[in-house]
């Protein structure tokens, strides 16, 4: 059974039809990338997977998304509770202002009720190690989250998302605001995370998808054009538009 299974997902912003009937499967412990030209609904699509899309006024979505067998768009599902099972990392690193590094990492746990200092410290250490940030911040856990560099802040956000232990991690262009060295570090991290989590990443950078993703989906204007193993998509695309995009004829 696939961890995440999307069937006939459609999404709108008021009257604008953005995500056009997408169906995709995400196997366990893999990285799947979504590529395509700007403004084609990639971000909207991924934001539907944790139902954060509908928090904007005028936005709505239809279809079914099965997380570990349960449809998150089913009747009676509380989006707030569901989001504890899907983590999200955003385009711009956004540690919470005026909170320390430690507080940023454990905020998800704290607000779900865990209060014992010892347990929180443990969890923080585990997550920061997973995010490959522990060694750099273990001496300054009580410094402000925003005092870190851009790349470190993004890893902090990854640690924060991992703290609540979601099986799936959604990443919306996580390296587009970072310099090449920081980006490379994040890509390394993603390859490591693959061993424990299922990752879906939207990226503007085809080469990044080719480097790290097992599967790649190609979107244009909210429609799924082609999907398959990354090696296939990049060396032997079946659709002419895919080939055009990959060889740079548009995009």
């Amino acid at each position: 059974m696939n961890v995440l299974s999307v069937k006939n997902l459609k999404a709108w912003f008021s009257d604008h039809y953005i995500v056009k009937n997408i169906s995709l499967e995400y196997p366990e412990k893999t990285i799947s990338a979504i590529i395509g030209p700007s403004g084609c609904g990639k971000s909207t699509y991924i934001r539907c997977l944790n139902r954060i899309h509908e928090e904007v006024s005028g936005a709505r979505a239809e279809g079914s998304v099965h997380l570990l067998g349960k449809n998150i768009y089913g009747v009676g599902v509380d989006p707030v509770r569901l989001r504890k099972n899907i983590g999200m990392v955003f385009q711009k690193p956004n540690p919470f202002p005026s909170m320390s590094i430690f507080e940023n990492v454990v905020i998800g746990l704290k607000l779900q009720g865990m209060t014992q200092k010892g347990k929180l410290m443990e969890a923080a250490e585990v997550c920061l190690k997973k995010a490959a940030l522990w060694n750099e911040v273990k001496d300054k856990l009580h410094h402000l989250g925003t005092s870190l560099s851009g790349g470190q802040q993004q890893r902090l956000c990854i640690a924060r998302a991992l703290a609540v232990n979601p099986p799936v991690l959604l990443m919306d262009e996580p390296t587009s605001a970072l310099d090449p060295i920081a980006s490379a570090k994040i890509e390394e991290l993603m390859l490591e995370l693959k061993n424990e989590y299922t990752v879906v990443v939207v990226t503007h950078n085809m080469q990044q998808a080719a480097r790290i993703a097992d599967f790649t989906s190609f979107f244009i204007l909210g429609e799924l054009i082609e999907h398959g193993a990354s090696s296939d998509i990049f060396t032997n695309p079946k659709n002419q538009k895919t080939e055009d995009y990959i060889s740079g004829r548009f995009g």
Binding site: E54, E55, V56, S57, A59, D78, P79, V80
Partner: protein, 305 residues
Amino acid sequence: MKISNREDAVSLFLMKTMAALVVAMLFALILLLFKVSLPAIKTFGFKFITSTEWNPVEDRFGALSFIFGTCLTSTLALLMAAPLSIGVALFINEVLPKRLGNLLALFVEMIASIPSIVFGLWGLFFLAPWIKTLAAPWLKLHFGFLPFFNGPSFGIGFLTASLILAVMITPTITSVCREVFKAIPPLQKEAALALGATRYETLKIAVLSPSLSGIVGAIVLGFGRAVGETMAVAMVIGNSATISASLFSPGATMASVIANEYPEASGLQISSLCFVGLLLFFITIFINGLARTIIWRGQNKWRRV
């Protein structure tokens, strides 16, 4: 957005209730203001605005002298304060280096935070005697042929009140002007400089002309502030319901007469004072609304460009 979560629905409900309460309270207050003014409205009607008689003994009241006083002092204050404030705003934003500019801005804001009563004290014990002994004789000597400077000066009066008002509204006009000037993209100024303009010309072309509506809005806002100012004016204007062309004459404004007479008033006088307050309230709303429309429209023009 959908509220699918019960906790969120409850918290939103509480917030909405609070908001509704505040709105309701404001309406209640306005209605109350009408209610207490009703006796005077019924007795005097429209004549209230055209009569200058203010006779507590015989219960005959008219607000014209106060309307005159408010208009005179506020307009005079504006004439004095507007050029100075715009100049200071330009000075802080465009001429001074950043640190000095911030220091000067701090001082100007300090003027705004001095309580009105302290201005009144200073006006009563320092400015009034100064005007009586130095300024008034000088003005009468050099400009005595003008009707503005006739008559004896006791220090208190329209001129003193206008001077104090001018000081008090300067920070308002300055801060709004500064915001307006800050909104000009530096590109415009650089374009002018690249053409070889002096700083004066750059500012005239690239800053002052496009900001004209914003400056007007700032001035109107300052006018609104002057119209509503109470304590400082009450202490230096003399509390006399007179209309006079002489700036040395004592007088009263709508705000000052309420402050001066309300505590000891009773019966129809209270109602008349509340009627004056009602008029003042609507005038202030109108002026502030006008100012905001002017500034808002001016800013929208920028966005189109």
